[in-house]
C-alpha cells in the first residue's frame, strides 16, 4: 500500500495516510505468560502484575518497565531458572558438558543460542552469546568448587535469569531497517513481522513455521502475511480464541473482579461466589465458541445460546447437571448475544440493583464510540433502593435525572440503558420489578443513520449490529486492541480497507484482522 495521493475515498483523506512511527512495545502479562510457557514449558512460579490499561485494553503500547514490574519479572525469572536448573540435563547441550569448565562453557554457548533464539524471537548474534557468556561465567562461580556439573548448572541458572529479563525478550520491536528507507518509509524486518503477527493474533511468540518463514525472508508480501495469519488462527485455535476473548472482555469492560460482583444475597439469593465463578467460566466458553464458529459481530450480539451447569443454569430458569458445562439454547426473545449475558449485565450493575445509566454509558462509549463527558461535580447519589416512593429502577432513575441540566447527556445515555431493565443486577431475566411491569423501551438517539426506537435489549442488540456507527466503532476498538494505541488520521486508509474487508464478509473479526495485517500500519514504519 502506498503512502497515497491526495484522493478522498469513503470520507478518508488519503493524503494523510502514512505508516506510524517506529516503536518498541513491552509485552503484556498475557504475552509474557504465553512466551514463558512456550520457551520453558511451564509458568510455575511466574507472578506478574496486571497490566496498566489504555482505553480499556491491556495491550498497551505505552506500558513501561516500572520497578514493580521489574521486581516481579526478576522473581519470576529466578523461580523459572531455579526450576530449570533442578531439571537440567547437561547432555542436551553437548556430549562433553561436565568434563571441565572449558568444555562446559561451550555447552553454555549452545544453550544460549537455543534458548536465546526462542526468547528473543530472532537469530542469536555472537555479541548476544558473548554478553550472556559473561553472565554465565559469573554465575558459574556460585557453584560448588571442583564440581563441573554444578558449576555448569549454576552458570546456566544466572544466564537464563538474564535471558528472561532481557529487553530483547521483554520488548517487541517495530523499528524496520533504518538503512533501507525509501521516501521516508521503511519496512519491518522479517523477524519483526513474525513477532508482530503472532503476538497480534495469539498473544504468543512465533511458532516454528512462522519463524522459518521469517528466516527465509518470505514475509515481505502482504499475501504471504495473510496466508500466515490464517494459518496461525487455525494452527493455534486456543491461543487465538483467548486473544479475541480478551479483546471482547476488555472492550466491554467485563470484569468479575469488580466490587459490583459482590452481590447482595438478600436481594439476589441465587448469588454465591460459586455462581460468579461459573458465570466467568460460562463467558470463557461462550467466547471461545463464538471464535470457533466464526467471530462475527452479528453472532456476538445476536446469538441466544450459552453454556450452563447446575450452578448457573438456575439463573436462566433452567436445570442442568453438575460438572462440565453444556451448551444450551436460550429463548431468543429473552437473550441476544453478549450484551444480554450476565457477564456484561452483572458487571454493569450495582450489588443490589440493575444500573441502566452504567449500562447505557457502556453502549454509548464502548459500542458506539461516542464521547460523553463525566458527570458534573456534586451530583447527588441515586435514591436508595429501599425508598418505596419509586416503583421500579427505571422510575427511580428517570426521576433522578429529570432536571433539565441532566438532559444533555442522559437523554442519549438512558434510552440505551433502559432496554436492559429486563435483567436484574445479576443478569437474570425479569418482566416485573417490585410487582410493577418493567418498561424496557428505549432508543438509539443522535446517530446519522441508526436512530430508532427499540422495545428491549434483544431489539437493541440487533439494531446495534446493523448500525453503521457501531460497525465503525467496532473497527476502531479492534484497531486499538491490536496496536495498543488510539487510531489517528494517518491510519485512516488501513482502517478503511479493514472495514471494507470485514463488512464484505458478514462482519467477521478475522477478516478485519487479516486486512489490518496486510496494511501499511502493520508492516511499514515512517523513518524518524
Amino acid at each position: 500500500m502506498s503512502a497515497g495521493g491526495a484522493t478522498t475515498s469513503g470520507g478518508v483523506d488519503d493524503s494523510q495516510c502514512r505508516p506510524p512511527p517506529s516503536r518498541v512495545v513491552r509485552l503484556s502479562k498475557l504475552e509474557l505468560q504465553n512466551s514463558l510457557a512456550d520457551i520453558l514449558g511451564t509458568t510455575k512460579g511466574v507472578a506478574l502484575p496486571d497490566d496498566a490499561k489504555f482505553l480499556n485494553f491491556s495491550s498497551n503500547a505505552e506500558a513501561l518497565v516500572t520497578p514493580p514490574f521489574a521486581k516481579a519479572l526478576q522473581s519470576s525469572a529466578e523461580a523459572l531458572a531455579a526450576s530449570f536448573r533442578d531439571h537440567l540435563d547437561p547432555t542436551r547441550f553437548g556430549s562433553d558438558c561436565t568434563t571441565n569448565d572449558a568444555s562446559a562453557r561451550m555447552c553454555a554457548a549452545t544453550f544460549i543460542k537455543s534458548y536465546g533464539q526462542k526468547a528473543f524471537r530472532r537469530p542469536i548474534a555472537q555479541k548476544d552469546v558473548d554478553g550472556l557468556l559473561a553472565v554465565y561465567d559469573a554465575g558459574r562461580e556460585t557453584g560448588v568448587v571442583g564440581d563441573v556439573q554444578d558449576r555448569f548448572k549454576a552458570g546456566i541458572d544466572y544466564t537464563l535469569r538474564a535471558i528472561l529479563q532481557s529487553p530483547d525478550f521483554v520488548y517487541r520491536v517495530e523499528l524496520g531497517d533504518p538503512s533501507a528507507v525509501t521516501s521516508g518509509v521503511t519496512h519491518l524486518s522479517p523477524y519483526e513481522l513474525a513477532s508482530s503477527l503472532s503476538y497480534m493474533l495469539t498473544a504468543s511468540p512465533p511458532d516454528d513455521a512462522l519463524f522459518a518463514a521469517a528466516a527465509a525472508d518470505e514475509l515481505a508480501s502482504p499475501d504471504v502475511l495473510e496466508t500466515q495469519a490464517r494459518r496461525l488462527m487455525a494452527a493455534m485455535p486456543e491461543r487465538f480464541a483467548a486473544q479475541q476473548s480478551r479483546f471482547v472482555r476488555e472492550w466491554l469492560a467485563i470484569d468479575f473482579t469488580v466490587p459490583a460482583w459482590n452481590k447482595n444475597t438478600t436481594i439476589y439469593p441465587l448469588y454465591s461466589p460459586e455462581l460468579k465463578s461459573a458465570l466467568d467460566q460460562e463467558t470463557s466458553l461462550y467466547l471461545a465458541d463464538w471464535v470457533a464458529r466464526g467471530p462475527t459481530l452479528t453472532a456476538l450480539f445476536t446469538r441466544s445460546d450459552t453454556f450452563v451447569n447446575a450452578v448457573n443454569a438456575p439463573l436462566y430458569g433452567l436445570t442442568a447437571s453438575a460438572g462440565d458445562m453444556t451448551k444450551v439454547s436460550l429463548d431468543p426473545k429473552q437473550r441476544s448475544g453478549i450484551l444480554t449475558m450476565p457477564a456484561f449485565l452483572g458487571t454493569r450493575a450495582h450489588i443490589d440493583s440493575s444500573a441502566p445509566i452504567l449500562r447505557g454509558i457502556s453502549i454509548v462509549r464502548g459500542v458506539m464510540c461516542v464521547t460523553i463527558p463525566p458527570p458534573p461535580p456534586n451530583v447527588p447519589p441515586l435514591p436508595a433502593i429501599t425508598d418505596t416512593s419509586f416503583t421500579t429502577t427505571r422510575d427511580r432513575v428517570e426521576k433522578h435525572v429529570a432536571p433539565a441540566t441532566c438532559a444533555g447527556c442522559h437523554d442519549r445515555i438512558n434510552p440505551l440503558g433502559y432496554p436492559f431493565e429486563r435483567y436484574d443486577g445479576l443478569g437474570a431475566y425479569r418482566s416485573t420489578e417490585n410487582g410493577y411491569e418493567v418498561d424496557a423501551s428505549g432508543a438509539i438517539i443522535g446517530t446519522q443513520s441508526s436512530d430508532q426506537p427499540v422495545a428491549d435489549a434483544v431489539e437493541l442488540s440487533h439494531a446495534l449490529v446493523n448500525s453503521a456507527e457501531v460497525q465503525v466503532c467496532f473497527e476502531r476498538q479492534v484497531f486499538r486492541s491490536t496496536f495498543g494505541r488510539e487510531e489517528t488520521a494517518a491510519d485512516a486508509c488501513s482502517l478503511r480497507a479493514a472495514a471494507q474487508a470485514y463488512r464484505a464478509k458478514d462482519l467477521d473479526l478475522r477478516e478485519l484482522l487479516v486486512s489490518l495485517v496486510k496494511s501499511q500500519t502493520f508492516a511499514q514504519r515512517s523513518s524518524n
Binding site: 513501561l64 516500572t66 514493580p68 554478553g131 559469573a138
Partner: protein, 468 residues
Amino acid sequence: MKKMSISRRAYLRTFAGLSAAATAQFSGLLRGAWVASAADLNPLRLLLITQPHANTKYWAPRMRDGSLAEHNQTGWTLDFDPGVTDLKPMEKHKDSMVVVDGLDFYCTFKPGATGTLGHNSSVGATTGNDLRSTTDLNPKSASIDIALASYLQVEPKVFGFYAAMSSYDSAGNTYGVVGVPYGNFTAVAKAYPELFSTLSGGGGPDPKAAARLAAEKSVLNYLNAEAKTLRGRLASPEKAKLDQHLYTLSLMEQQLAPSMVGVSCSKPTAPPGPDDDRNVAEIDRYGFVNRFIATLFACNMTRVATFHMNSQSMDWLTLNGSPLSAEETGDVHNNIAHMMKDSDDASIRKVSLVHNFYAAQVSALCDLLKSIDDGNGRSAYDNTIILWTNELGDPVQHLPYNVPFVLAGGGGTYEKGRYLKYGGARDPHAENNSNAHNALLVSVLNQFGMNVSSFGDMALTGELKGIL
C-alpha cells in the same frame, strides 16, 4: 536525581490501571521528579517496637541544667540523673531520635468510642482506631506495620513472645486489615528455622555471598547494556520507555548491595531447642529477636519488622545493685507498675528500671542496625524509621493520655534530635483533639510515600504538626 521526560498521556496510560495507592506511589513521575517513583525499591524500613507500662517522670529528656526540655528543643540529654532513668540507654542514639511527648489515644476515648480508659485502649496504639465494640476487643482496622507492609508489598515479620502490650491481648497489638490479630513469631527457637533455613553460613561470613553478588551484578550489567543498545536504536519519543527501564535497573542495582551484605547477611546463631523456648532464658530472647531483626534487614528479607516487648516476669532486674523482691520481678505489671506512687521515688525508679531494660534492648538493636552496611555509605539504621510506642500513658491507672512515643533511626526526612511536647485538655467529651496520636502514625506512613491523610480513625486527619 535523574529527571525524565515523558508525556502526561503516557503516564496516564501506564498507571491508569493501578490502585490509588500505587498511583500515588509513582506520582513523582507526573512532576518529572523521580524521587517518588523510587519508593518501591527505596531501602527505607519500618521497625515498630511496643512495650508496656507507659512512662515515668524520668522518661522525658532534660537539659544539662536539669530543667525539662521544651517543645521543639534540641541539645537535651537522656543521661540527666545518676539514678536509673527510662531512656538513658538511648543516649548514644539521641541525635537521630525524636522524642514525642503528650500524645493521646483519642480514638479510644472520644465521644462515641467504645474503648475504655484502661487496658483495652491499647489497641489504639498501633491501629489509631477504637475497639470494634464493648464486647469485641479487637480494633476496627489494621495496625500500622501491617498497613505499611501491605502497601510496600512485603511480608512483615512480627515478634511478640510474651503477653504483649495489653495484658489481655496475646496478639501483641499487630492486627491484619480487618483488625484480626496478626500471627506473631511466638518463640525464637520456632522462628529461627522458619526465617533462616535458606540462609547459608552459621554466624560467620557466607563464602559464596561474594560470588552471588558478582553474579547478580553480571545479570544487571547485561540488562543495562542491552537496554542501552536498544535505546540507541530508538527515536526520541520512544527513548523515554528505555529511560524508564534503565532507571528501574539502577534502582535494582542500588538494592543489590544491601541484599548481599557478606558478614551481616548470614545465618545468625541458632537458639537451643525445642521450639517452645523452654531452654531459652527469657532475657536471652530479647537478644535473639534483635539479631533476627537485624539479619532480616541485612538480608533484605523484609522492610517491616515489629517487636512487641513485654515480660511479665523479669527476675534479672536489680536496682542499685540490689535484687528486687520475687513478688515484684515475678509480676512486673501488678507489683511494680501498679504500685508506683508519686510520693515514693523508689517506686518510680522501679518502673523506670523496667523501662530502662526495654530501652537497653532498643539501644542494642540500634547498634546492630548501625553495623549493617546498606551501601552508599549508609547503614541499615540510617535507612530505618523506628517507631517505639507504649500500651498506655500511665503506669498506675493505665490511662490513654500522654502516651510516650519515640522515633529513632536515621530514616525519614524529619529533623532529628528534637523533643516535641504536646499537651492540653484531654476532655473525653471534646469533639476533636489536637493531641491525637493518629497524626504521628500518618506522618510515619507518609515518610514511605503513602500520602494518606488519616490512618485508623478516619475522622482524625493530618500529620503531626511540627514533625517536619
